[in-house]
């Protein structure tokens, strides 16, 4: 059958797909039975767009194109990952996922891919293709649902394939219809935590092996489990601490661990905002449309190199002069750069840039379109790096003074902010943000260095709590030495891994994580390994009230 016909058939088959929705829900509802789960409802986490794309590439190959609009992710407590368990599937979202799924299924069964990806077809020994469909969906179902299909699910998949094939008069079109259904289905779109009795602790519960495999893989690789991890789930070794440690070690030894670290820091630093970041081209002509994505990549490459590849100290991110560079960004840094591609460079000792906070990504993301913002930068430092919460300003605040960058009497941002702070109500929050943010005001809204503003030298002195510093390097050192910064990272990594806000009952867990993190010399590898092998990572989630670190009164004291 020609590809065009399949495309048409799958479109026709959408009606059949709709019928299959009932089956899909059935599949979801029966998902846990094979593993004898607890009677509790399974916990669900929707795949992020990046995870969805990586999963499809892993299962079907990177040449399968994924086109369509994904449901927007939700940031909870500063993390998109924590929002994955708080989002559902809207009717329009389900429709979008089905369209995306249909595009994938059409490609899987087209002439270019079917031999490699389907691998069989009806023949004399299998006249209607039932054996072929059964074999295909058992194989693909394992990868898509991240657990084996039950016999009932396999029978349903084969029956649905054959029914669609008869209706459409084409076997591969039938496969595409069923594959579309599975790709639109909850067990694929959502990670599911299925619980079983904990073999190590009587009367306790833990996640089953298949759920463990998913959690590990999406945490450490940001993608679906590979064959070896699924095998470890199948043979039960993932349910033992030794088997778990062995698989964690394998996953972290893979180059794909860098993808996992990248995904975490992308989320933690909220860098997805760089993809749509724009600046006033008349004020910042050097900040081209390509600058935002390049700056995002710069930060992530720097972090992965220093923390994942070289196993460096997380705190050194705030004091290092090493940074990934390319020719798109070097003009913004005003440095010569010879290579045609990315590489790590070390900035000169007298360069005003030191550490993560002086990279274009942080500076430009937390600024306005046409001017810098010490307040936004300070707020981001508090909220992102220190896990604090800064209240949003009241709706009736008059920002005129700070917005007027041409006021001849208030030539620097510091002067304008000082005038703005005559209002006591405003001052209470600005005291938390501005002393740090003003230290970075020698970098404009696009992240470019400037020694002066409107002819006035910029005063970059600032403070964090009781620590005062003269410049950005001092701020980096203060953050490097702040326990709250490493506590925030450990707690965020935990929330990222479990995909939800931290529970009150988990405070000992996150405290232990931070202790281990500190003992390792604040190595991200050690932190991730500790999380991935911690029994609490696989514990059945209780429904205790949620309380995050951000809500703790002590969180403010260090500032």
């Amino acid at each position: 059958m020609k590809d065009r016909t399949i495309s048409k058939a799958v479109r026709i088959g959408s009606a059949v797909t709709a019928l299959c929705a009932a089956g899909a829900i059935l599949l979801a509802g029966t998902a846990g039975r094979a593993d004898q789960p607890d009677k509790n409802m399974p916990k669900l986490r929707r795949l992020t767009e990046a995870q969805y794309r990586a999963t499809i590439a892993d299962i079907f190959g990177p040449d399968i194109k994924i086109s369509g609009r994904f449901e927007p992710d939700l940031r909870v407590g500063g993390l998109l990952a924590a929002g994955t368990s708080a989002v559902s599937l809207t009717p329009s979202g389900a429709e979008q996922y089905e369209q995306i799924a249909r595009g994938i299924a059409e490609q899987v069964v087209d002439n270019a891919h079917r031999d490699r990806l389907v691998g069989c077809q009806p023949g004399p020994a299998d006249p209607n293709g039932a054996a072929c469909a059964g074999s295909f969906f058992q194989k693909v179902g394992l990868r898509l649902y991240r657990r084996p299909l039950t016999p009932a699910e396999t029978r349903l998949a084969v029956a649905q394939t054959l029914a669609s094939a008869r209706t459409l008069n084409d076997f591969h079109a039938g496969v595409a219809v069923m594959l579309t259904t599975m790709l639109s289905d909850l067990p694929f779109l959502f990670q599911m935590d299925r619980v079983v009795a904990d073999p190590a602790h009587h009367s306790a519960q833990t996640l089953d092996a298949w759920s463990r495999a998913s959690k590990l893989s999406y945490f450490l690789w940001n993608s679906t489990p590979d064959e070896e991890l699924l095998n470890a789930a199948r043979d039960g070794s993932l349910m033992t601490q030794a088997g778990l440690a062995q698989q964690v070690g394998r996953l972290m030894a893979s180059p794909r661990f860098e993808t996992g670290v990248t995904a975490f820091f992308d989320d933690f630093l909220q860098l997805e905002g760089m993809m749509s970041l724009s600046k006033d081209s008349l004020i910042y002509p050097a900040f081209r449309s390509s600058a935002g994505p390049a700056a995002r990549e710069q930060t992530l490459r720097t972090i992965v190199t220093l923390l994942a590849r070289e196993d460096g100290d997380y705190r050194d991110l705030f004091t290092t002069r090493r940074v990934a560079m390319n020719r798109q960004l070097s003009p913004l840094y005003r440095i010569p750069y010879a290579p045609r591609d990315w590489s790590m460079i070390t900035l000169p000792d007298n360069d005003p840039r030191v550490g993560l906070l002086t990279q274009i990504s942080f500076l430009s993301l937390h600024s306005h379109e046409g001017r810098s913002s010490p307040t936004l930068r300070g707020k981001a430092l508090r909220e992102v790096l220190m896990c604090e919460h800064i209240p949003t300003p009241p709706a009736n605040v008059n920002f005129t003074i700070v917005q007027d960058t041409s006021n001849p009497n208030l030539r620097t941002t510091r002067e304008r902010l000082k005038a703005h702070l005559d209002d006591e109500e405003c001052a209470s929050c600005h005291k938390l943000t501005d002393p740090m943010g003003l230290t970075l005001d020698s970098f404009d809204g696009a992240g470019q260095f400037r020694a002066s503003e409107n002819g006035m030298a910029i005063d970059t002195s600032g403070s964090l709590g009781n620590v005062s510093f003269p410049d950005a390097a001092g701020l980096g050192k203060a953050l490097h030495d702040s326990p709250q910064v490493t506590q925030c990272l450990a707690q965020s990594a935990w929330r990222y891994a479990v995909g939800r806000e931290a529970l009150a009952s988990e405070e000992p867990v996150t405290a232990a994580l931070h202790n281990g993190f500190a003992q390792s010399g604040f190595r991200i590898r050690a932190l991730f390994r500790q999380i991935a092998t911690d029994p609490h990572f696989f514990a059945a989630t209780s429904r205790a009230p949620i309380r995050t670190m951000a809500a703790r009164p002590s969180a403010r004291k260090s500032s």
Binding site: A286, S330, I335, P336, A338, P348
Partner: protein
């Protein structure tokens, strides 16, 4: 500059871009940069370089005729009426191409790297001539080697009847300097009243449409030229960037395209590769006085690579006069004698397509330039091979990456 260690608006309209060919042939929005601890390097990428035309409404009796104007005049009256309306210009140009046997055929090659001319073997070119009935030995590679063209620009000698209608420039003022040290009666005055200005290229071609319309600094300063390979200027041996009696000025072609900012102007502080081709590398001694750079006379080639053209301009006995603002800009001129060969090379590559877009007649302009050539006589024929002129330029700060250099500054980590 301290060591950096390495590990491991508006886009100009097509016709305006093309006009630079004829502007050359005939005639940055960077905000003030903060200074880091180390002094900024005195290296620049020239974003605008062109033969400037002085704005003088009375300098031309009329605009020079284009090739299609001349062709129209030669048509029988009945046919002329059919094509003389302005909106019939494209039909007229098609008719001219058909009647005169112009050709533009694909070579089957893609352009070279960074908008350079593709290398097409002569045997393939000859085969194309035979296949498309192009006269033996005629036609040139054009459109960066993607086409073989034969027309009044590639081979003006075959279309002598189009070598008419050029208007002489009759203005008294032109950009330039006194190149020959003589204050002759026929010399121009400079825009600021300087006497003895030598600029015969403007006299020869200053009434061409493109020169009048696009060649004034008011317009040309806003149009990036040679975006595919900007000219790079580096000043070394500098003790004081504002006053130094003995500096060395290097002129290169860039092997990288000019980077463009978000506002459509040249992007300052980009790292640009110096082209290793020795024909586009030269240096000369100079001096800086109160920020004004001046050089000794020297010969240089300026590469012109943009859109459909990969050409050059050869300037003999060139002198640079420019105002330098370290870390901000360079602005000035290159004054000297442009070789006829390099001027005509530009016309050839523009093809009839460029001539139509910029309303010029290649045969007429080439004839005029040859007749006004005023320097470097050929020893055998006695005919002058170069013509006095001026190039105006503007530039922005750039980091120059030399061939084989791992990092522009400092050792590799």
């Amino acid at each position: 500059m301290n060591a950096i260690r390495r590990e491991g608006g508006r886009r100009p309209h097509t016709s305006r871009r093309l006009a630079f060919i004829s502007v050359l042939a005939t005639g940055a929005g960077l905000t003030a940069s903060p200074s880091l601890a180390a002094p900024a390097p005195l290296s620049f990428a020239l974003t605008n370089i062109y033969v400037p035309s002085y704005e003088d409404d009375k300098a031309c009796r009329a605009l020079s005729l284009s090739s299609s104007d001349i062709f129209l005049q030669g048509l029988p009256p009945a046919e002329r009426v059919k094509y003389e309306a302005p909106e019939k210009i494209q039909a007229l140009q098609r008719l001219m191409g058909d009647r005169l046997g112009f050709k533009m055929v694909p070579t089957g090659h893609a352009s070279g790297a960074n908008g350079s001319m593709a290398a097409v073997p002569e045997a393939e070119i000859e085969a194309l001539r035979q296949k498309y009935n192009i006269p033996k030995g005629k036609g040139i590679l054009s459109f960066l080697g993607t086409r073989l063209a034969y027309d009044s620009c590639t081979n003006p000698e075959d279309f002598p009847f189009l070598a008419t209608g050029n208007e002489p420039y009759m203005g008294k003022v032109a950009y330039g300097i006194d190149l020959d040290g003589r204050k002759g009666k026929g010399d121009f005055l400079g825009p600021n009243g300087e006497r003895g200005v030598d600029n015969e290229l403007i006299r020869a071609t200053g009434c061409n449409f493109a020169t009048r319309d696009y060649g004034t600094p008011k317009v040309a300063d806003e149009v990036i030229t040679s975006i595919g390979s900007p000219t790079l200027v580096e000043i070394t041996d500098v003790d004081d960037p504002l006053n130094d009696e003995d500096v060395t000025v290097h002129v290169y072609a860039s092997a990288s395209p000019l980077e463009v900012s978000g506002s459509g102007k040249g992007l300052g502080w980009a790292s640009l590769d110096v082209d290793p081709d020795p024909r586009f590398q030269t240096q000369v001694k100079g001096r800086i006085s109160n920020g004004e750079l001046s050089t000794e006379p020297f010969d240089l080639r300026v590469r012109l690579r943009e859109q459909i053209v990969d050409s050059y301009r050869e300037v003999r006995q060139a002198r640079i006069r420019a105002t330098i603002k370290p870390g901000e800009s360079i602005e000035g001129g290159i004054y000297g004698y442009h070789t006829l060969a390099s001027i005509e090379e530009g016309y050839h590559q523009s093809t009839q397509v460029g001539a139509n877009l910029t309303r010029m007649s290649c045969p007429a302009l080439i004839k005029s330039i040859r007749s006004h050539a005023d320097a470097f006589p050929d020893p055998k024929s006695g005919r002058n091979t170069a013509i006095s002129s001026a190039l105006r330029f503007r530039g922005i700060p750039a980091f120059l990456i030399k061939p084989g250099q791992k990092v522009a500054q400092g050792p590799q980590q």
